[in-house]
């Protein structure tokens, strides 16, 4: 294939493959420029119609040239750096996810600045330089690998040197300042409230992180994002060889690539004349400039200009071979060409501005939407607000940068001197043409990537749709990978044409983040695998791991579930652990329970208001179980309350609710009862807690704490003592969650492992996990908040009237107990269930029905099984359940439908073991 690289263009060769064929490009190429250099014209088949498609643009606005390579499912050839060995395959609209894992690393960084400049073209560079000169902290971000924005595309000179050179020098100078950060290859893709912007930096496969998300909080923002050239809808405008004029110019100037040999230029404005000049200089033959206006721009001598003409047809199946042009009063002419360059004018890149909440305004002069009013602290400069001259962009950028710095509180420092630029020719006003009218619109494409034609748009308007949002959804125009960067406004214009409404009235569809597609893993960043969500561990964790405990996730905590011995499954291990506690002694790591230190003269009063029962009557040295409700009367949390002193309590909460209960307390204290003199402090992790349970626990404790009188009279149930255990300062509480004689030993978390090892060192204590704890408490009918309750359960439902004070005038939740629904007799009560077959384990979550045969659905349910276990001590399985009117059903037989079976169960008290409480004293 012929090389279309400009003679004399230097570059280190890079080999690559495309669709199974080998090619060579040069370093600095994109895949697109390299393909064009190799004369490859057709790079994709269109998604729905299968029409051949070529490269249409030169940067992120490209609609056609989508490829996949390696693990990357979809990328634009126009933004893809050519790297040695790149092996890319063209796509037909849809990407393919790879089964290969993505082994790259991703991360994020927070950044702050006084002025964020987006875009490092002439406007952005001038803005950044002006702002940085004042001493403001500046970040300048640009999505391209090379500085200068469109300067390398246009090869204009700035300050007497080539634009790209000027840009590189300016950016390097900026980067050398201590308070300026230059981010290249960085796309700002989202603009959120309070000047929070997010950007993705493409750092490359060799960097520590392949891509990085920048989370930028800027006091002021300057958007200098440039403009996109506008396409025109005409018959056959999707043929390979049709290309935006400015993009062709970019391929020539940036990459030394000629996208064709002989070109027709179709334009509504002057900018394409400059493109034609550059391409001619590079060696492309300009067959004609077809200008829709009646007055020509400044064409190079000898170039034919057809004013008042439009393109009405494109010849060639696989790519442009000729272009038919028509003009009023002229005969149609077919001009031979392999390249058709299009310029319908320029659309300021208002995406980020619009995301910022800025309103767009239609500008009749440029025929485009430009920034209007906005509430955030943002300036728009250069082509992004419709300034289309180089000198104008430099000036506009410098002024915007200075204003932004000043608004951020920085006075003029070293002023930025606007560099000289060559005098520009006075421009002829542009015409605004979106659509070349025709009888048949079947090949007038508005969205190349979704194969949407003018005919499709007209079908939509014909069906009654009048909003561009409807047309977008009916036709799918603007919804593809390129998000309608080129097709969006064009679609609106065509709708306007069809309905006879001005474009200004129709507006655009909504601009949304991300401005360019961003990888899932890029956004996930470091929060993956083990770092996905913090793992919380107790100070005994390593021991549990060493003893082979599987862990249960409880919130973010890892809790040991059970400790299987060789050959044991879970059931065997749990039965053994239960047996040990009921007959001997076991120990559990209870450190995850929430612990809150509540101090102050009004602490007792405060707890009286939060708990359903009375806490102020608790004696120093004693412990009381308590329940908290939400104002709606439903159980929120439970735990023990220890009175440490007249004005000091230690409250324990469930593992999952520790933070919520502390927040709850602070909320009431700060917002309702600020006069109460109370301070609450979390001490959850200050303490390690070892629960010692079983008839043998007293002896074990006595052995470890020789200074402590452990007999029942000296150390009664529901009291606590400060003492030394295993030589460690400890607080021992005599409480029980198993019904057995039991103690909870609390030590400073640093000493937790030492305590645990001392306990285990006695040789008589069996470690047990959360599962055994659950079985033991269930045998005693102690509910677990969140398991036996679900946010719809009151203390009375749990059979805990005794925990609800009748004496207190009020506490949180009390009023709700008097509502109609909360006093219904058929509310669901917590009861016990004994299956008729003592070997039958009911699944937790199973439901209960009244009859032994199941009627047709819907079958009213009486309630459900909340907890269900095998019990060694009961010699049977058993369950806890919430059952409608359950307390009035003692002894009744109910049924649990399981598959085709109805399993009979008997309703019993929820306290199945030792209802007299005979065991708690040992």
């Amino acid at each position: 294939m012929t090389s279309r690289r400009m003679a004399g263009w230097q570059g280190e060769p890079v080999r690559f493959r495309f669709d199974g064929r080998d090619y060579e490009g040069v370093r600095g190429d994109t895949l697109a420029s390299a393909l064009l250099a190799n004369g490859v014209r057709t790079v994709a088949a269109s998604p729905a119609l299968g029409r051949p498609r070529g490269i249409y643009a030169a940067w992120t606005e490209e609609p056609n040239a989508l490829v996949r390579y390696g693990v990357e499912p979809m990328a634009q050839a126009t933004t893809l750096d050519l790297t040695e060995g790149l092996d890319a395959t063209s796509l037909r609209g849809r990407g393919r996810l790879s089964e290969e894992p993505d082994t790259s690393r991703y991360d994020a960084v927070h950044a702050h600045c006084d002025v964020l400049v987006v875009g490092a073209g002439p406007a952005g560079l001038a803005a950044a330089a002006a702002a940085a000169g004042t001493g403001a902290r500046v970040i300048i971000a640009d999505d391209r690998p090379v500085a200068g924005g469109s300067l390398p595309d246009t090869a204009e000179t700035v300050g007497g040197v080539p634009g790209d050179e000027w840009a590189a020098t300016t950016l390097a100078e900026l980067g050398g300042r201590p308070d300026v950060r230059v981010l290249s290859r960085t796309s700002v893709f989202g603009y959120y409230d309070d000047n929070y912007l997010v950007a993705v930096e493409r750092r490359g496969a060799d960097a520590y992180s392949r891509e990085r998300v920048w989370r930028i909080r800027a006091r002021q923002v300057v958007l200098a994002t440039g403009a996109h050239e506008r396409p025109i809808a005409f018959a056959g405008n999707d043929r390979p060889g049709v290309m935006l004029a400015g993009s062709a110019r970019a391929y020539a100037n940036r990459h030394g690539v000629l996208p064709g040999a002989r070109a027709v230029v179709f334009t509504t404005n002057d900018s394409a004349y400059a493109a034609a000049r550059d391409l001619a200089a590079a060696g492309v033959e300009i067959a004609a400039i077809v200008d829709t206006r009646d007055t020509a721009g400044h064409a190079q001598d000898g170039t034919e200009v057809l004013t008042g003409h439009v393109v009405t047809a494109v010849g060639g199946d696989e790519g442009v071979s000729s272009v038919t042009v028509s003009g009023a009063g002229h005969v149609d002419r077919e001009i031979e060409a392999d390249l058709l360059l299009v310029s319908g004018g320029w659309n300021p890149l208002v995406h980020l501005f619009s995301q910022a909440g800025g309103e767009l305004r239609h500008d009749d002069a440029t025929g485009s939407f430009v920034p209007g009013p906005v509430r955030q602290a943002v300036e728009v400069a250069g082509a992004a607000r419709g300034v289309f001259t180089l000198a104008g962009c430099l000036e506009d950028g410098a002024a915007a940068g200075a204003r932004a710095a000043e608004a951020a509180g920085f006075r003029m420092g070293d002023a930025f001197r606007i560099p000289e630029t060559p005098a520009e020719e006075p421009a002829e006003p542009a015409a605004h043409l979106w659509l070349v009218e025709a009888a048949d619109y079947a090949t007038h494409f508005v969205d190349l990537q979704r194969d949407v034609t003018v005919a499709d748009v007209m079908k939509a308007t014909g069906a009654g749709l009048r909003s561009v949002e409807h047309v977008k959804r009916y036709t799918t125009a603007g919804t593809a990978h390129d998000q309608g960067k080129l097709s969006g406004v064009l679609t609106s214009a065509v709708v306007g044409h069809a309905l006879g409404l001005p474009l200004a009235d129709l507006g655009t569809t909504t601009f949304r983040a991300p401005y360019v597609p961003v990888g899932f893993s890029t956004l996930a960043g470091r929060d993956r695998g083990a770092l996905h969500d913090p793992v919380r561990t107790t100070s005994l964790h390593e021991w549990h791991v060493a003893y082979g405990a599987p862990f249960e996730n409880v919130g973010q905590w890892k809790r040991p579930w059970y400790y299987p011995r060789a050959g044991e499954d879970m059931e065997a291990a749990v039965l053994r652990e239960c047996h040990a506690v009921r007959t001997s002694v076991g120990a559990m790591d209870a450190s995850t329970l929430g612990k809150i230190d509540v101090q102050g003269p009004d602490a007792a009063e405060f707890l009286d208001r939060l708990y359903t029962n009375m806490m102020s009557t608790l004696k120093v040295g004693a412990i009381r179980y308590g329940v908290m409700c939400r104002p709606d009367g439903m159980v929120f949390d439970d735990g023990t309350v220890i009175r440490l002193a007249d004005d000091r309590f230690l409250v324990t909460t469930t593992t999952g609710n520790a933070a919520a209960v502390l927040d709850w307390m602070e909320e009431w204290l700060q917002t309702e009862w600020p006069h109460l003199r109370v301070y609450c402090t979390s001490v959850t992790e200050h303490w390690a807690t070892v629960a010692l349970a079983g008839p043998g626990s007293r002896d074990v404790l006595a052995g470890l704490a020789p200074g402590l009188a452990v007999d029942a009279a000296s150390f009664p149930f529901m009291t606590w003592r400060d003492t030394e255990v295993a030589g460690l300062a400890a607080r021992v509480c005599r409480i029980s969650f198993s019904g057995e004689l039991a103690y909870e030993i609390n030590v400073n978390a640093w000493d937790g492992l030492a305590l645990w090892e001392a306990v285990m060192g006695t040789g008589t204590v069996t470690p047990y996990g959360t599962e055994t704890m659950h079985v033991l408490r269930a045998e005693k009918g102690y509910p677990i908040v969140g398991q036996d309750t679900d946010g719809t359960v009151t203390p009375a439902d749990l059979g805990m009237d005794w925990v609800v004070s009748k004496k207190k005038p009020d506490f949180i939740g009390k009023r709700s107990f008097a509502r109609a629904d909360t006093s219904r007799p058929d509310r669901k009560h917590l009861v016990g269930l004994l299956p008729a077959d003592p070997g039958r384990l009911l699944p937790e979550g199973a439901h209960l029905v009244e009859t032994g045969t199941l009627p047709e659905p819907p079958v009213p349910t009486l309630g459900h099984v909340t907890s269900s276990y095998r019990s060694a001590v009961l010699g049977s399985t058993f369950a806890l359940a919430l059952v409608s009117g359950g307390r009035d059903r003692m002894g009744e037989e109910l049924y649990v439908p399981l598959g085709d079976e109805l399993v009979p169960v008997t309703v019993t008290s929820h306290i199945l073991y030792d209802p007299e409480g005979a065991r708690r004293d040992g």
Binding site: E666, T671, S816
Partner: protein, 85 residues
């Protein structure tokens, strides 16, 4: 990511705060004296305007203080804030 002005710590990212809904909804003086309707109103009914809204925030990841703010729910702009004393 809103930038929420904690009266104590200064502006911080939204992720550090817990939202507390409408401000100035006092716990009733004497709940027992309320009708079911009035109690339901306290429990479940809160203003939900499109526009200025007085609301509560807690700086949970910072100083743990509750404060009130007036935010425009149509623009998310915070117009004022006050310390709860």
């Amino acid at each position: 990511m809103l930038l929420i002005p904690c009266p104590w710590c200064g502006p911080r990212d939204e992720a550090e705060f817990h939202y507390g809904g409408q401000a100035h909804v006092a716990y009733p003086e004497n709940p027992a004296a309320l009708s079911d309707e009035e109690w339901a109103r306290y429990l479940f009914f809160r203003d939900n305007p499109e526009g200025r809204f007085a609301e509560r925030w807690n700086h949970t990841a910072g100083c743990r203080r509750w404060f009130n703010a007036v935010r425009n729910t149509a623009t998310n702009e915070i117009e004022a804030r006050e310390v709860i004393a």
